[in-house]
Symmetry: C2
């Protein structure tokens, strides 16, 4: 196993020595999981490269995890050895604040414990994520993989999926609503699928003419080329909801103008300051709403998997051998993946 984690760490920083970790002895509420598949999220790149200045090396990225239970702690009743399960972006929270009590652990007052690069609440060790053979996670933060969902393409539902599903459900998107999705990467293409499955009329905003056919294949009813002034003008005041998946700074004002009265713009990718400056008048003049949303709580993470099984939705994935992770990062940064890389963990065993 040392080889596994050494590989992940080295993929992040080439000058690091290999290291060895042992997964912890099971606590009473723990679930031990052999990992089959792990999706590759843009956040992984940020942590591997320490873009946010918060990385504790060695880091083992990965928070879109699908695997099989190998053992459970004495208090665990929801899972047993052999179960197919998933683990997403968090592995613990305070469990007592009002958010945790409402099943919104991602908004825990004390801060959730990240699946990787988090600090374990019991022993203060740094958590290691899913680019690995195994993981041990408290049962509250493990979900069941419903029968019928392909395990590899279900992996990204644990982050890209829940991140787009949660706000659409929270704001009650329903049949007849006009929903626009901005950007069609890993998150955006899931947003299109979910909005469509919820009965909405779906529009994709994209800068790329060459994404039009693909967007329609994903379920979009319409495509607006956001760099085309005439198209943007025609889109004004058309939408009930805009799901904005763009993860870098961009001008929100042209999109706000596309919302109807009482329309809602939902940020799920952007964490930077909002520049150029937002026009307050665009909110006041039409009672529009700007909001954000962060992944989803554990009950809703189970719900999105069940929803996907019911509606036959999965993420479009490209399978990846772990030895190609650095190339995958480069391709992701170039927007060259449809739409999520998923590491086949069998490739760990054959890695050099």
């Amino acid at each position: 196993m040392s080889q596994v984690n050494a590989y992940a760490a080295q993929s992040a920083t080439s000058d690091m020595a290999p290291f060895s970790i042992e997964r912890r002895t099971l606590r009473p509420d723990d679930v031990a999981i052999d990992i089959d598949f792990c999706g590759v999220c843009h956040t992984d790149i940020h942590f591997a490269h320490n873009d946010w200045g918060a990385t504790v090396y060695p880091v083992v990225p990965g928070h879109e995890i699908i695997g099989r239970v190998t053992a459970v702690g004495e208090q665990v009743s929801r899972f047993k050895a052999g179960d197919s399960v998933g683990v997403g972006c968090m592995v613990d929270s305070c469990r007592t604040c009002s958010s945790c009590e409402s099943g919104l652990e991602q908004y825990c007052a004390e801060g959730m414990t990240g699946t990787y690069n988090g600090k374990d609440r019991h022993d203060s060790s740094i958590t290691f994520g899913g680019y690995s053979e195994r993981i041990v996670v408290s049962d509250r933060f493990v979900v069941n993989l419903p029968a019928g969902l392909d395990p590899a393409s279900a992996a990204p539902l644990l982050c890209a999926g829940i991140t787009t599903y949660s706000p659409l459900r929270h704001y009650g998107v329903k049949a007849g609503d006009k929903v626009a999705v901005v950007g069609m990467g890993g998150l955006g293409h899931m947003g299109v699928k979910f909005a469509k499955a919820l009965g909405a009329e779906v529009t994709l905003f994209t800068r790329s003419e060459n994404k039009v056919a693909e967007a329609k294949k994903q379920g979009a009813d319409h495509v607006v080329i956001s760099s085309d002034r005439a198209q943007m003008k025609a889109a004004r005041e058309q939408f009930d909801y805009i799901l904005d998946t763009v993860p870098v700074q961009h001008d929100l004002n042209p999109y706000l103008a596309c919302l109807k009265v009482d329309g809602t713009h939902i940020i799920v990718g952007l964490l930077e300051p909002i520049e150029p400056a937002l026009q307050a008048g665009a909110l006041v003049g039409k009672r529009r709403v700007l909001t954000g949303s962060l992944i989803g709580g554990m009950p809703e993470t189970q719900e999105v998997l069940d929803f996907c099984a019911e509606h036959n939705i999965t993420c479009d994935v490209e399978m990846l051998d772990i030895k190609n992770i650095n190339e995958a990062y480069e391709r992701m940064q170039a927007g060259d993946v449809k739409y999520r890389f998923v590491i086949d963990m069998k490739s760990l065993k054959t890695s050099p």
Copy 2:
């Protein structure tokens, strides 16, 4: 009557010649009103000074109007001569768009017709407002003054009142909610009264230590001095709603931090670009909402008057003779009024 309007116009620009207007012959849906009182709104100053570059001179400001019906058009059944009535910020709209059909005429797809400096939808004449002896308004845009409400102190309910009442109602503020109001001018002090009347626990954010006693007199349970770092830190994640009445650019980030998960920051005063830049992470990380609200529709404008009559709420006013309007503008700009000037229109008849 020429003297009246000449006065108002001259108060705006001293180099203008006096002018004369005649109120229009009654259309079938018109209500002719003798004006008793008119509140003085900051917007009046902006239009008088052409701060927004949109003023058509001569301008007769005033959109917080209380008066008595003198005559009605042949199709008017809701009003009769002698009725006490009010007119607010708008006197017409398209009446057919979905907003108008929902009683949200302020968000009319074609744009509402402002009570002053608007363009009449029938004859394209420029509308004149309430610093005047008389006004003629289509019945849809006239509301009844409930018995028991003091007419002078009810006047500002037509703008300052409805502007703060509408978002609190739209977002469903109720007993037990923690509501903060930012700023305690004409709008802010009404926001405190309404939030309190709706059963909320009310906090005022103010920069001025010397407003603490006054805020508590108005009904605030708590006061936070926004320039005090320790007080702002203690206020973090405390509020369900923040009603932000500050009409000039200010940093919203410290206030967003004071919202709970799912908390809502409502802008009613600010129309400028939001700078310094809003931190997107503050929205995403706690699913917070930033929104705005513009006055209220006609059904809700009637509702706020009825609510005030029922709860014995009025605006705190300082009565004003029209000849002192320029001094009043100066005092308003210095924040020196508790909390709204109201012009006694009898003073017009004795003006030079």
